[in-house]
């Protein structure tokens, strides 16, 4: 009787322990037990690092036991939850262009300058490098790929509308946003309003803004104000595009956008280099008709990613050596070929692999266009509150485009909304 009671108790306690511990006893990493190998974990998302390159890294660094984990779903939310929980953090983590949101938590990352990043600084694009450096001068993000922008256009539609269709000539003639808008009016007339110049109001605003030397904040964190010439210019250009009827109102990443591109309802758009892939997948029927040339109004950047080392890592030096190798100019060039990730190391821009002709773009080699753009991207400070302010503005612009709201009224509301946002 007593024995049975005791077994029962043991079972109950065991169950409780397992429930509370979440079965962690089995997954405890046997870090030190290994034969002196340094264990490193790397978090990245699909298509941000080539899987073959990671396999190669394992051979290249026999002293490192690399666990590379592809994190699916909402990467940023998962990273932030992990940082908040202060447990289960990886050693190395890939960050997207929202890196500035993490600047207030710079103490959770290693300063890559302390690990020797300064030695290779001149190999990378200056403006890109600076995006990974916090206002206090700590470098928390190592450059991965970039997103230089250019004008994507349909050569056949441009020709039919009586516009130039050769890349050099398009760039020469449509050198400003005004000239671009004028071309849009021509297209509208030529196709009886069935073909639009570009996709949506947000992308116009974004692209004008990305060509400037500032955003909403100064490096000391103070707000420049909604009346900054660049913000006004971006806003006014976007609104003018709407008022002239040049927008198809097709939002990115929607079936509508894909269909509009494939059906030839959109004649052009200014987009980052990674839009090549997006466009090819969305509009297979338009193969051979697209061309790429330097964007009206200047060059800009949209997107791009970074690699960071978290403070919780026990082996920052090894982690840095790994990062340095993964993102070396040669390996960036290789990832341009395998995954279309545009290098942030300008030293490889002259390599033949960057000049290959692409059938989707009618045999044009688009690499040199983006390479030229990448070298001219103006350096701009973003600030950690850039995303929230930018989001408010683009959201309100959508009201103008889709609900025909009065632009003046929306502007006044937006200014108030941004001021309120900055107060909290």
């Amino acid at each position: 009787m007593i024995r049975r009671k005791r077994t029962c108790w043991v079972a109950v306690i065991l169950v409780c322990v397992l429930l509370v511990s979440g079965c962690s006893i089995w997954s405890e990493p046997s870090d030190s037990a290994n034969n002196k190998k340094v264990a490193l974990t790397l978090w990245y998302w699909n298509r941000s690092i080539d899987d073959k390159l990671i396999a190669k890294a394992k051979e290249k660094f026999p002293n490192i036991e690399l666990t590379a984990q592809k994190i699916g779903g909402d990467f940023k939310a998962k990273l932030k939850t992990t940082l908040a929980a202060r447990s289960g953090e990886p050693d190395i983590v890939a960050l997207n262009d929202w890196i500035m949101e993490l600047f207030p938590s710079e103490d959770r990352f290693y300063n890559l300058y302390d690990l020797g990043a300064g030695e290779i600084e001149d190999q990378y694009l200056e403006w890109k490098w600076k995006q990974g450096v916090t206002p206090s001068g700590q470098m928390i993000g190592f450059p991965m790929d970039t997103g230089p922008t250019a004008l994507f256009y349909r050569a056949d539609l441009f020709k039919e509308a009586g516009l130039p269709s050769e890349p050099e000539e398009v760039a020469r003639q449509l050198d400003s946003w005004d000239a671009y808008a004028a071309a849009g009016e021509k297209i509208k007339d030529a196709f009886g309003g069935k073909v639009f110049l570009t996709d949506n109001i947000g992308s116009v605003y974004n692209q004008v803004l990305s060509q400037g030397t500032e955003r909403y904040f100064r490096p000391d964190g103070s707000f420049i104000g909604m009346d900054s010439p660049l913000v006004r210019k971006s806003w006014d250009t976007a609104v003018a595009f709407k008022q002239k009827g040049l927008l198809a109102n097709a939002d990115g990443w929607t079936p509508t956008w894909n269909a509009a591109m494939n059906n030839g309802e959109i004649a052009s758009f200014v987009g980052a280099v990674w839009m090549k892939q997006v466009l090819q997948e969305a509009a297979p029927d338009t193969t051979g008709q697209w061309r790429v040339t330097r964007a009206p109004g200047g060059d800009g950047n949209n997107g791009g990613s970074f690699l960071s080392i978290l403070k919780s890592s026990k082996h920052p030096q090894e982690a840095f050596e790994l990062i340095r190798w993964l993102q070396s100019p040669e390996n960036q060039l290789e990832q341009y070929q395998t995954l279309n990730l545009f290098p942030s190391a300008p030293g490889v821009f002259d390599q033949p692999a960057m000049k290959e002709e692409e059938p989707f773009f009618g045999g044009q080699a688009t690499g040199p266009v983006f390479a030229a753009s990448a070298q001219q991207v103006p350096d701009a400070f973003f600030g950690e509150r850039y995303p929230s302010v930018h989001n408010i503005i683009t959201r309100r612009l959508n009201d103008i485009a889709k609900q025909n709201s009065d632009p003046q009224q929306v502007w006044t509301d937006t200014v108030q909304r941004v001021e309120r946002e900055l107060q909290r």
């Binding site: 169950v15 409780c16 429930l19 509370v20 207030p104 079936p255 995303p387 929230s388 909290r424």
Partner: protein, 309 residues
Amino acid sequence: MNPDPGAARPDLNQEKSLLSRIWQHRALYIAISPFYLLFAVFGLFPIGFSLYLAFHKWDGIGVMTYNGLNNFKYLLSDVEFWQAVGNTFMIWIYSTIPMLFFALIIAFLLHAPFVKFKTLFRVGYFLPNVTSIVAVAIIFGALFANNYGFLNYLLQSVGLPVVEWLNAPWGIKVAISSMVVWRWTGYNAVIYLAGLQSIPNTLYEAAKIDGASAIQSFFRITIPMLRPVILFTVITSTIGGMQLFTEPQILVGNDGGAGAAGMTIVLYLYRESFINNYFGYGAAVGWGMFLIIALFSIVNWKLVQGKSS
């Protein structure tokens, strides 16, 4: 039970007895403890923590700073929050009224003696409820799309003008509501059917003998007898409607679509916390929503109950 009953004074004995009774049945308490432990970890703690969080400013990673009542003050004067409350109510009205109406009709038909293959229909009506919401939202997105949507294709083919469903404030609400109706009508119908089956047949027979028509017996017998079931469905769909999140998020995105017309309270909470990183404020939104649901449920309850007296 007590081995020596005369040893202790009666009142002390009683005081002791609660603890000692628990100790005596310790094996049982431990056996039911997993639920309470899990509830404490995943239910009670988050509730308490969100209340604590609502008085703080926190970006999710850095230091938490005490913020007093500022989050709540900001909430009361937040145009976007009140717009979200308004949107949620509109979507709730657009969805709950047709949903419960159709559910009642379906249940009534399923209960009718002349319907064959009842089980098949019951399963069929319940099926939408177990379909993944994400898949549903994607399909409805394709139905309501502005340019290449199926509904607009139908409208065009009969010569009607195209409706920009996902650009118009009411269009977005109709699209979201239709998803809710599609998903929950069958569920409520099954509940109503259970209610109908519990009404004794003798009542109808008596009414028939007294010369009541079918409509009379529906309104005089069926509806009054179903009142508790109707109350239950109204309360559950109120809570569900106030917590609407996945449908608008998949259909129109984190910003609630054009003019934020599809921004619901929970979507707003999600955006403020997980997109904009105002976790303290997000918690305050959660408590604001709690108060609204509580008030609204009481009002609903009074309304539905009140009719009887």
